[in-house]
Amino acid sequence: MTTTAAGAAVVDLASTSLRELNQRLHDLAGDDPQPRGWQILNPNGAHAVACGLDAPLDVEIAGHVGYYCAGMNKRAVVHVRGNAGTGLAENMMSGTVVVDGNASQSAGATGRGGLLVVRGDAGARCAISLKGLDIVVGGSIGHMSAFMAQRGSLVVCGDAGDALGDSIYETHVYVLGRVGSLGADCVEKPLREQHVAEVRALLERAGFDDLDPSVFRRYGSARTLYNFHVDHAGEY
């Protein structure tokens, strides 16, 4: 294993198996991993890179990753210097995951905590069934995003695709651009002071502090689908 000048461990997936890499990272579970910094070379679209981490690690991936990168992440900072495939940071619990490029469908699905930043676009079903994670997307998101999203927030600096927030619960959704259409029971809501503050804080954490948080539009649940009501039977 080689190290960078800053002391980070360098693992080249062209010569080290993915399983070996993930095992090494899993073996560091705890409060004081050594080394803390990791650099992963040649991911070439491999699946499940840096999945299931549970330590304050700082992992940089130099290239494009495949499915389920940084899934279930706890405490670690995972930075992808490229694009990510399906299921990025799925069910992440805490920590930070940053993707410099685009992410495919279901980014941040069921995420429970922490921060996910996609600097480019995210595909369909971004933030599906979100449960507490905060997501900031620098570009646009695809259709059926925030479907049944329960907690946490989704900030989109570009456009949103069709059926945004279908059957949404209490996730806060903010979009700067155009929304293709809203899903069942999702409505636009007034952007109050506390919401501007929330957007501002998230943009700052994500490094998009040149955007004006007061011009985002806010979407959320009309709360008509929470309990069965015969007048809404057609919407279930």
Binding site: G45, H64, A124, H143
Partner: protein, 293 residues
């Protein structure tokens, strides 16, 4: 599941290595479709007035010279035969004289090879690295809708120099198959993709452009699909409105590539720096040297 790959050479310098790259791409999609594999390659146009047929014989000892054309290639129970007839005559002639053979493809440039078994074995058995050509597409199959057979493998021919590969499953193929039978189309399997291929064949026969035929799939086909359609001058991609079946497109100055996953594209020269994006649902993406029809 299933895996799809496609490569279109923008730079002629890439053409001698088409097979090598297709083989590497298919190898990456091995675990998405371990049941069978196939490719369509576009190369060596037949002379004017001639048709190029790719034929398949279940019997490994078949004497290809008996077909009565010029045999230009033979590998793993497949052979490429040039005949001085138009495509319809050539196909009909082979079917009536050799009912035991399957016509895999017919046209001027297309060749289709497909077989059951692991894609990694297919690549070796068919010596894929030898192929030179302008473009090609491939498929690795994880069967869901019908049996694992050579005939049920992809690509499916959809007319002269046209073929289809599919990731997904169609739910209204039985009804549509009956409708297409009434239009005179014939079927070799119970496979859903064969119905989609026949549907495209029918629409193109009725005068639709490839673009229009693909767009009409959005109204006619019920189910999940990412389609890659090969044509003499290029290829086209379409995803259904829900778009749960993956697709990645990438392009640079030398090539255009399509695959189910980026890892299949990562094997190409310059992939990491190519423009990479996901095709939008319901939008037809096409690359062609000249109009596809």
């Amino acid at each position: 599941m299933c895996g799809i790959v496609g490569l279109y050479c923008k730079s002629p310098e890439l053409e001698p290595r088409l097979g090598e790259y297709l083989a590497a791409m298919l190898g990456q999609m091995n675990d998405r479709g371990p049941d069978s594999a196939g490719v369509a390659v576009y190369r060596d146009p037949a002379p004017d007035g001639w048709t190029k047929l790719t034929l398949y014989s279940a019997d490994t000892g078949f004497d290809w010279d008996a077909v009565g054309g010029e045999v230009t290639d033979a590998r793993a129970r497949h052979a490429v035969v040039l005949v001085e007839e138009d495509a319809a005559e050539a196909e009909a002639s082979v079917r009536s004289r050799f009912p035991e053979l399957r016509v895999m493809s017919a046209g001027r440039t297309i060749e289709i090879y497909k077989e059951v078994g692991l894609p990694s074995s297919f690549v070796t058995e068919f010596r894929l690295h030898e192929f030179e050509g302008t473009h090609g597409l491939g498929h690795t199959r994880m069967a869901t809708e019908s049996r694992v057979t050579t005939e049920g493998s992809h690509p499916f021919s959809t007319g002269q120099d046209l073929c289809l590969v599919h990731n997904g499953s169609l739910s209204n193929h039985n009804r549509l198959r009956e409708r297409l039978r009434r239009e005179g189309l014939t079927f070799q399997t119970e496979n859903d993709t064969e119905v989609a291929a026949a549907y495209l064949t029918w629409r193109l026969r009725e005068g639709d452009t490839l673009q229009a035929a693909l767009e009409s799939c959005l109204d006619t086909l019920d189910g999940f699909y990412t389609f890659l359609v090969g044509a003499a001058d290029g290829f086209a991609v379409l995803r259904d409105p829900v778009a749960c079946k993956p697709a990645v497109l990438a392009e640079n100055d030398d090539w255009v590539a399509m695959a189910s996953e980026y890892r299949a594209i990562a094997v190409l020269p310059g992939a990491a720096d190519a423009e990479i994006w996901e095709p939008e649902p319901t939008v037809v993406y096409a690359w062609e040297k000249e109009p596809v029809r």
